[in-house]
């Protein structure tokens, strides 16, 4: 609400001029010059009120005009206006992720939802559900403690959720937590992987930016409408990209002599930082030093890559590092009505919820053929691919005209190395915080863009006081950007240089293009050195 104290001098002067003009047009004999009693007692007071009313009218007019809304507009006014278009502001979401807990005793532990884990910054998390992790001696339990070779503690990994919404609760892998509510045998805890979720309440600027998507019709016939449909279903989706008719990445409409329409592939970036799932797999020895296991379609729907494979020993401990492995992706299309051509290859089913893999592992153990070994498999994946596919396949929801397949995006796994220079007069910077800043920037990029050195420099210099960053190609201190992409069919494409440009490596025959690919960086892949000079 505009008050008299909100009126600027310019607004007052303009109001005065208007009133003088109006009064003199009606009463030309009035002397309204500065210093006259009429000016002081009639014009000035009314000019103040007139200016305030003019501002209020402008404010009211702005609330009825989407064009005039901005991030500084009254949020309630923005919400009221946009509610006319059935658009609502997204509330913040709570961050969630796995926490690895070190425990002293090999016994059954129950983690109730009232248990609190807290970071040094005071951010609190609690188990999503009450969960019991059994001792390693329990042979039938699904969830057991893990003994770590050579260490006098046991590990339990449970899922926790932040106490409140907001991006600050999005922990990065390795963030330490304590347990203020007390836990028998508790030694320490840390974020097992980067957390997901954790969104701030949408700002007015963000709300207005997604307005074209949100006011579009909810159907499957345009990229905007498809995105709107998906975001309605899953508000935490970060980006959506569509390959439809005439898009070269759309391979499924080229099965015939002429390209047909109605095939739609929807690539969904359903994560901010690519999450990781731990699988326990029993691998069968097929030859000396060679084992195989399968990743079924329901194990990790929409998985992107296998990060590592390690052996789980008899005492239920795991070894550090990864075994060498090969992966062959196929698909299980039992009961699937979507149009896939798998006669030549399984490219068209890659990254869909029907993909499956046969993984061959080398050096896990020396055994007889047919023997088995327990393996721990770390798999990065795009969440919700299966649920979104189920949604579009629902008979009451799905399109009667379009064959819609939901896919995880191709991911350019990015590594960055750089040297930054800081004044020795300033307090030392935290390279960990700087790595987080760079990681957040990389993981905020959606589909269809490039990542170049200038973006990294901008991300850092906007947050930290640096003298310079070496962006040269100098082998010792220059900035290095590298990335690799597993395209459909298993082809691995490498990028490096001053920019990681997906356009340059586009190969639509393996669904690799800016339309299908997003960037992702893990904190451990960002190496920053700060030189104080």
């Amino acid at each position: 609400m505009v008050e008299l104290t909100d009126i600027t001098q310019d607004a007052f002067t303009a109001a005065e001029d208007t009133i003088i003009e109006l009064l003199r047009s009606k009463y030309p004999a009035l002397d309204l010059r500065k210093g006259t009693v009429l000016r002081e007692t009639l014009v000035k007071p009314y000019a103040q009120l007139f200016a305030a009313d003019t501002e209020r009218l402008a404010e009211l007019t702005a609330t009825y005009s989407i064009d005039q809304l901005s991030d500084t507009s009254d949020p309630e006014a923005v919400d009221r206006l946009l509610s006319n278009f059935l658009v609502t502001r997204r509330a913040g979401t709570k961050s969630y992720g796995p926490v690895s807990i070190r425990l002293q005793y090999n016994q059954d532990y129950t983690f109730p939802t009232t248990l609190i884990f807290r970071t040094v910054d005071g951010l609190e998390f609690s188990p999503v559900n009450s969960v019991t992790v059994y001792s390693t001696t329990n042979v039938t339990a699904d969830k057991k403690l893990v003994a770590v070779n050579g260490e006098a503690y046991y590990l339990a990994v449970i899922d926790v959720q932040a106490a409140e919404t907001g991006v600050k609760y999005k922990l990065v892998q390795g963030t330490m937590l304590d347990c203020p509510t007390g836990l028998v045998g508790f030694i320490m805890a840390e974020a097992y992987t980067d957390f997901s979720g954790g969104l701030e309440t949408e700002t007015s600027a963000q709300l207005l930016a997604r307005l074209p998507v949100d006011i579009s019709n909810r159907s499957f016939d345009s990229p905007y409408s498809i995105e709107a449909r998906f975001r309605d279903r899953e508000p935490s989706i970060e980006a959506v990209s569509v390959a439809g008719m005439a898009n070269p990445e759309q391979l499924r409409d080229k099965h015939y002599i002429v390209a047909v329409g109605s095939r739609v592939d929807v690539f969904v970036k359903s994560f901010h930082t690519l999450p990781v799932m731990m699988l326990r797999k029993t691998a069968v020895c097929t030859a000396t030093g060679v084992h195989q296991f399968d990743i079924g379609i329901n194990d990790v729907p929409g998985y992107v890559t296998i990060r590592s494979i390690s052996v789980v020993t008899e005492d239920n401990s795991i070894t550090i590092g990864s075994l060498a492995f090969d992966e062959v992706r196929t698909a299980d299309l039992t009961g699937v009505s979507h149009d896939f051509d798998i006669s030549q290859s399984y490219i068209e089913t890659d990254y869909s919820r029907w993909q499956k893999s046969t993984v061959t592992v080398y050096g896990a153990a020396v055994q007889k053929v047919g023997s088995t070994v327990e393996l721990q498999v770390e798999v990065s994946y795009a969440p919700m691919i299966d649920s979104l596919q189920s949604y579009v396949d629902d008979a009451s929801v799905g399109s009667c005209q379009f064959d819609v397949v939901v896919r995880a995006p191709l991911v350019c796994h990015t590594s960055i190395r750089l040297v930054a220079y800081q004044s020795a007069l300033l307090d030392p910077l935290s390279t960990s915080d700087m790595a987080t800043t760079v990681m957040e920037h990389v993981n905020s990029i959606g589909f269809g863009t490039t990542l170049d050195k200038s973006q990294v420099v901008s991300a850092l210099t906007s947050h930290y006081e640096l003298k310079r960053i070496d962006v040269s190609d100098n082998a010792a201190n220059g900035m290095v950007l590298t990335g690799w992409i597993r395209a459909a069919g298993g082809t691995v494409v490498n990028l490096s240089g001053a920019e990681l440009n997906i356009y340059r490596v586009t190969n639509t025959d393996i669904m690799l293009s800016p339309r299908t690919c997003v960037f992702n960086a893990a904190k451990q892949d960002i190496d920053i050195t700060v030189v104080r000079e």
Binding site: Q9, R24, A29, L32, G35, T36, V37, K44
Partner: protein, 160 residues
């Protein structure tokens, strides 16, 4: 002072200063709310404008250039000697004349006759009433038409 009684064709203002009969020497002017409000024009209107602007402080709400620093100096005790009075008056008078002359020729306010346009204002003398803490300025105002009038302008400092 002479008070113009013929308002035909003139721009008029509302009376804010005490109205007096035609001249019998110098008269102190002061602002008052009179019963039966009257309109004024001519040199009385000019004196009224001069007095209002002279006694208004600069940087007042919504018009930072309207007014002078004179009252601020009086209230803050910065006028201690005759020289202080003369200097303070000189600056303040310059401010007022500039403001008056700008509006005098601004067509949006209509046309002013020469007997309502200021030519110059001089400080004839001053005296101080210690009992009331009031500095009285005796000013002589001359118009472009050649008319002139003397009036006393009171500037009162608050007493603790």
């Amino acid at each position: 002072m002479n008070v113009a009684t013929n308002y035909s064709g003139r721009l008029v203002d509302v009376e804010g200063l005490q109205t007096v009969a035609a001249p019998t020497g110098m008269v102190q002017v002061y602002f008052t709310a009179t019963t039966g409000q009257r309109i004024v024009s001519g040199i009385q209107k000019l004196i009224q404008r001069y007095a209002i602007i002279y006694l208004s402080n600069k940087d007042s709400y919504y018009d930072p250039v309207l007014g002078t620093d004179f009252m601020m100096k009086v209230v803050n005790g910065l006028i201690q000697t005759r020289e202080n009075v003369a200097v303070a008056f000189a600056f303040a008078n310059d401010d007022v004349l500039r403001i008056l002359r700008v509006d005098d020729v601004d067509p949006k306010y209509g046309t002013l006759p020469d007997d309502e346009k200021v030519d110059k204002v001089t400080l004839e003398d001053y005296n101080v009433d210690l009992a009331t803490g009031t500095l009285f300025l005796r000013l002589k105002i001359a118009t472009k038409a050649g008319d002139s009038a003397e009036f006393l302008l009171p500037a009162t400092a608050p007493r603790s």
